[in-house]
Each structure stands twice: as structure tokens, then as C-alpha cells.
Symmetry: C2
Subunit: 418 residues, 2 copies
């Protein structure tokens, strides 16, 4: 992509109501724009990062054996009445009537619809286990939307639901899904922890949260320095008691929840009479699990975890573009020649690249590149070219390295294979 | 993909309320399920076709120079009041209040939100032309949802909006967008026509509709056999007068609208005061165009155009899988060996493949393959293998061809490169 063709409106100042590091930087770097409380446009650079997170998640969900589906955002009250959640949910469930006065909600989650699908189309233990996932918009009418897209009202989520013929199988799959989540968050480049989110005392259900570690996180994580055990302090009743280890080495850190896995048991299949026939021909309720990732939130969490006073420091896998080529003066033929050459060659390494071909001062280009946070910056200037070098600088480091022009591609390859 | 791992619940009978060929076949083939009036789940096979259409559209929009963004489905009344559309739109605009009694709608289209974005972040003629597109859910609260996903309430759409500094530039881009649409529908494999959709009499605005030809279409297309001119009879006031050609050779065919391009002029930029500074430093309203494609509708239209009494006949580019390998008995080692071999090799040709590894009779597998409509079927049976051949049959043809086992890959390559 050429900067001259890209809508990436950077701002010197964040708007006053941007209340956290990632919200400020996402707006300043031109990744998102707010249109109303808790509602955001995703601009081209922001959407690229969102799509990269989506693709990592999709690949790992498919590797897990889950199949992608797509469910409506608008769901009928009748299904939500079956589980009682229409009544239980508070005002964060956006309810409304259609033109015929029938009641619907904008789904914050899709247990009812997926259970309805499976009870109608899956009827034998031979069709199990079955796992279905989707990407899509969800809505929660938060009383106080904040932190930019991190606690927006409309957000982008991956939700997955699994169906099993036995507790044992559900637990085997749960463990695999847990491992897939570890893989996903590793590939995103997060520093994160998986922690227990409830005590597991009730009916064979239990859950884990996947926390991106950040001082600005909303949740307290209780960790034991001896055994490595971790739990969400608020949701896990027993957390501070920490029964599995010595209590003398506990510490508290903060995290942003980006993923959540639940072993649901038969909560939904019982209330919705979702049953299969077992080997003996008897009706049994499906044992279920569900597995969510806040995709838009994960993008914000990546920034919350990686930034400095100049802007975002993207991880290699989620950066909208991985390399920015900065010609100090693109009108200069020698500079243009090398910029165009690298712009043509770098994609062949499987690395995506932006060329800042704008007629702007080098200082403006550097500021924008730092703000947007491309992992690697390649500067091509007159003095450097006279010496036969480009300046190569990872966003995460202070100083650039002088790299002979003919070695730049090898340097890029090296940096992204590390 | 292996059939044993795939949720593709086929049905012998369509439900009573399925009222058109594509709705019946999409449900019978296990591509979609209805959850309420005008609301559908997309199952794995249906979603694959939807994603293939999406990717073709994305590639051509990017080639056109448009940038992908993502806008909220939920939009505030204030923006819709600026253009007056809050009041103009009928009950098909789904309106509701949030928990704080603020008014919102579920967007059927996004002119207001995109114009708001551009007026805030684009201010110079040097940033023009600019074209932005998105994929996403749209909602129209149809009084009588029907024809399956073809006239659903929640549907999947690509919408693109362009902004220009002059009428001339808007028209140049309009022509390019028109050509991109031709390319998209050709790549989808449609038999289609682009027709004029309004008379162009008012204020420099005009539009075209892209019609997939099908007897079951809802729109009448007036065509002139002499000059090739075509128009939507209902929307184009002058259509039957057909001023551009002799009136003696008119005919009427039917079509399903899958795309629509509009040259909007300044309708939205005037009412929303969306302006840029021209070369003289004067404020001017953006000249706009918009360009929609009903992605979910296009998938249905593909089926509406291509089916027979046994099921769907997918075009090569939109088929959920392009090849189905059918071992008559997968438990037979020799058959399994060849099935597995082809299943491993065919993807290397850039062709995606399904292996029907289910423990079902061959007749059941054939029926399902015909119903789902994979373009090419490769049958591996005991008798054939004894002769050293596989039976290769395009879905669109009556008879299979005996192909020596070692030639099957070459045959697949030939079929899909044609």
C-alpha cells in the first residue's frame, strides 16, 4: 500500500473523551473513529489488524476441528425465553420490536440460536463431538461504554460452541480448545495468562479467562509464585484462598480479558431440550462448551500492552503493515528507484509493506510511522544512498542500523523469521 | 474436508414455507436454516460459498482502488436526521431506543455514516478521489420476507462509497466501478445483464442495476434486440419508450438484482455539509457515488440460475467445494488408498475438495453430491479400480467419463482451467 492512496488520518491530539492508552492511540493513528457512545468506525489500518487477528483465530479454530458458521445478529425472543435469559439479562441486552410487534434482541452471544440449530439437525451420538464457530458483530448496551473499542457497545467477536456425548469427551475437547487459545494468543504476540474464572464447584462446569497483562487492565489476577496457579480475583470465590498451593507467595497483577472458555455442561441443552440418541437409543442432553474471543478487544489489548510516548508498537503478527518504507524525498529519482524496488520485493518474503510516498517532510513521515507503529522502518535518504546504505530500525528499538542496500531484504527476512 | 466431519444436514423435502427454487435447495442441501421470519443461520457449506463471493468482490474492489473499512450496524438517529432519511424511510428501517432512550437504527445502508467520516477526516481536493467499501450485515424489516435469503431481513452486503472533486472524476470512477462489477459477476459465473435503473433526468445522478437472469426474478428487464440497450421497466420511466434505439425490437426478460451502482451527485454531501477545499481554497461539496452488492443474495441467485431436479449446479467459483470424491466403500483398502491420494493431491492444483468418507451407501452419497451440487464428482468403486479407472462426472452433464487413475489429476486441472 502507498500512503498517498491510504485513508489514515493521524491526529496530534486525542479527543478528550478517549480515556485509555489504546483508545487515544487508535484514534490518533487513524485506526478507528467514534460515531456515537460505544460505536466506532474501523478505518483501513485498524481493519487490517482486526482481520489479521481474525485469520489467526480462524486457522486455529479450524485446526481444532471446529466448523465456521454465521448466525444472525438479530434473534427472536422465543429462543431466549426457552433458557430464561430474556428475563435474566439486564438492560445490556438490546431488545426491540419489529414492525409486527414481535420481540427480538441484538445478540450479545448465541447459545440459544446454536443450540436450536443443533437440536434440529444433530440427533445421533455418531455425529458428535461437534464444534461450530462464527465471527460477527455483537452488541451489549453498556451503561457506560468506555476504553474505546475495548468496552464498546457493538464489537467483533469469535464465538464457538461445542456439543458432546459425554462429560469426558467435553473435557478432552475443552483442554484442546484451551491449547488452541494458548496458540492463538502466542501467535498474536501477547504477554498473557490463562486463569481460572470460577470455582468449578457447581455441576461440572468450569471456565478460564485469557488475560492480556497490562497495568490498565480492569481485572485483578491472583497468582501464586510457587505453583503458577492463577485466578480472576473477583469471579473466582476461592482465589485468594488458593487451595492448590501455599498461600504465602501470592501476588496480584492486572489483566484485560480477551478470551473466555466455559464448560457449560447441560445448562442450555436441558432448558432447550436439545438431545441426541446414545448408543442404546436413549435420549440424552448434549454436554456443551463455549469459547469466546473479543477480536476487536484483542486489537486494543495489543496496543494497551505495547506502546510508548510516540505511539503504538505493534506485534509482528497484528501490525496493519509490517514494514514501512520511508523515502525522505520520493521525488528524488535515486531514492524512488530503491523505494520502489524494496516495495516490490519485500512482499515476496511474505511480509506486507507500506510505502510512504507522500510529498511530506521526513519528520512528518517518521512521526506518523512511530504513531501507527509499523514493526520495522526502512529509511532511504540522499546521504545514506550516497554511502550505499538504508537505515533500518525496529519500532521497539531506539537506534537504527545502517544496512548495505543489497542486504536490506536479508535483514527484513531475518527480522521477521526471528 | 471430510464429510464425516462436516455439518451438512441434507433433507429430502423442503419445508412448506420455502417458496422458491434457491430457498428450497439451500435448505435441503444444508446451506442455511431459518430461525425466524427473514432470519437465517448460514451453515458451513453455505458460508463457504458466501465467503468465496466475498473474496471475489474484495479483490475487484481493491483493484479498483477502494479501501476496506468496517462501520457499525447500529447507527444514531442524529446522522439520519441530517439527510432527512429518518423521516423518509418507512417501517423497513428498524428503529429502536437504547437504555438511555437515545434513538438508533439497524443500518440498511451507510451513506450517512460514511459521509460523516469523510467530512471529518478528508478536507482537501488532494485527498480525492477516495473510495471506501465494507462487508457487513444489513437489516431491512421487510413487510413480507420471502424467497429465503434472497429477500431476508438480515442480509450480507458489500457497500462502497466514492468521493470526488468533480462531476467528471465521479463519472470516470463510476465507469471503472461499473467495469469492476462486470468483472465480479463474470468471475461468479453469472449469466447477467447491466441495465439502466433510472432516467438520469435529475441533477446528474444516474444508476445501473446488475441483474442475474432467471425466470424467477422479480424485476422486468426491457431489452432492445437492435442496440443491446436494457433497462429496469419499473424503475426507469423511459424504458418502454427506449429513446436510444428503434422501438420495434423490444423484449422483456426477468432478472434478480444482485448489484446496484448510483451516481449520487451532492445529495448527501449537501444535506450533511460534507465539503472539501478545492485548488482555489474554496469549499465545495463532495460529488458522491455508491455501489452495492447483495452478497448473500448473489449466492441464492447463483442457485436460482443453476439447478435441476436433483439439486444445485454450482458455478466453479462459488461452489463450497469444487470436487467431491466419492468412494463407494471407504472401508475397502484399495479404494481408500486412491481416495486419500486424490484428496491429498487435488488441493495442490488450487482446487478445493470434499471427500465423502461416510459409511453410507453409494446411492446416498450420489444423491447428496447432486443435491449439494459440487461441480465435479470423482467416483472410486471396486469395478472401476479393477479396470484402473475412476468415474469423473461434471454436475452439469448427464454421463460420467472413465478416466485412467493416473490421469485423474490432469482431468481435474483441465476441467477447472477451462
Amino acid at each position: 500500500m502507498r500512503s498517498s492512496q491510504l485513508l489514515a488520518p493521524t491526529l496530534r491530539e486525542a479527543p478528550r473523551d478517549a480515556d485509555t492508552v489504546s483508545a487515544k492511540l487508535m484514534i490518533r493513528a487513524g485506526l478507528i473513529r467514534k460515531i456515537a457512545s460505544g460505536l466506532y468506525d474501523w478505518l483501513p489500518l485498524g481493519l487490517r489488524s482486526l482481520k489479521k487477528a481474525e485469520q489467526i483465530i480462524r486457522e486455529e479454530m479450524e485446526r481444532l476441528g471446529a466448523q465456521e458458521v454465521w448466525l444472525p445478529t438479530i434473534q427472536p425472543r422465543e429462543l431466549w425465553d426457552e433458557t430464561g435469559r430474556w428475563g435474566v439479562y439486564g438492560k445490556e441486552l438490546l431488545r426491540f420490536k419489529d414492525r409486527k410487534e414481535a420481540e427480538f434482541c441484538y445478540a450479545p452471544t448465541a447459545e440459544e440460536v446454536i443450540t436450536d440449530l443443533v437440536r434440529k439437525d444433530v440427533n445421533s451420538y455418531r455425529q458428535l463431538p461437534l464444534a461450530l464457530f462464527q465471527f460477527g458483530s455483537k452488541f451489549r448496551d453498556e451503561i457506560r461504554p468506555r476504553f474505546g473499542v475495548m468496552r464498546a457497545r457493538e464489537f467483533y467477536m469469535k464465538d464457538c460452541y461445542s456439543f458432546h456425548a459425554s462429560e469426558a469427551d467435553a473435557e478432552v475437547f475443552y483442554k484442546k480448545a484451551y491449547d488452541a487459545y494458548i496458540k492463538i494468543f502466542e501467535r498474536c504476540g501477547f504477554k498473557f495468562r490463562a486463569v481460572e474464572a470460577d470455582s468449578g464447584a457447581i455441576g461440572g462446569s468450569f471456565s478460564h479467562e485469557f488475560m492480556v497483562l497490562a497495568e490498565t487492565g480492569e481485572d485483578d489476577i491472583v497468582s501464586c509464585g510457587d505453583c503458577g496457579y492463577g485466578a480472576n480475583k473477583e469471579k473466582h470465590g476461592d482465589a485468594t484462598a488458593c487451595p492448590k498451593c501455599a498461600k504465602t507467595n501470592l501476588s496480584i497483577t492486572r489483566g484485560i480479558e480477551v478470551g473466555h472458555t466455559f464448560k457449560l455442561g447441560t445448562k442450555y441443552s436441558d432448558s432447550m431440550k436439545a438431545q441426541y440418541l446414545d448408543e442404546k437409543g436413549e435420549h440424552k442432553p448434549f454436554i456443551m462448551g463455549c469459547y469466546g474471543i473479543g477480536v476487536s478487544r484483542a486489537v486494543a489489548a495489543n496496543i494497551e500492552q505495547n506502546s510508548d510516548e510516540n505511539g503504538i508498537i505493534w506485534t509482528k503478527s497484528l501490525a496493519p503493515y509490517q514494514v514501512a518504507i520511508i523515502p525522505t524525498n520520493y521525488a528524488e529519482p535515486k531514492i524512488k528507484e530503491w523505494a520502489d524496488k524494496l516495495y516490490a520485493e519485500i512482499p515476496k518474503l511474505g511480509v506486507d509493506v507500506l510505502l510512504d510516498d507522500r510529498d511530506e517532510r521526513a519528520g512528518v513521515k517518521f512521526k506518523d510511522a512511530d504513531l501507527i507503529g509499523y514493526p520495522l522502518r526502512i529509511t532511504l535518504g540522499e546521504k545514506g544512498l550516497a554511502k550505499g546504505i538504508a537505515e533500518v530500525k525496529p519500532r521497539s528499538e531506539k537506534n537504527f542500523q545502517e544496512v548495505p542496500l543489497d542486504n536490506v531484504l536479508a535483514e527484513v527476512r531475518k527480522y521477521f523469521s526471528a
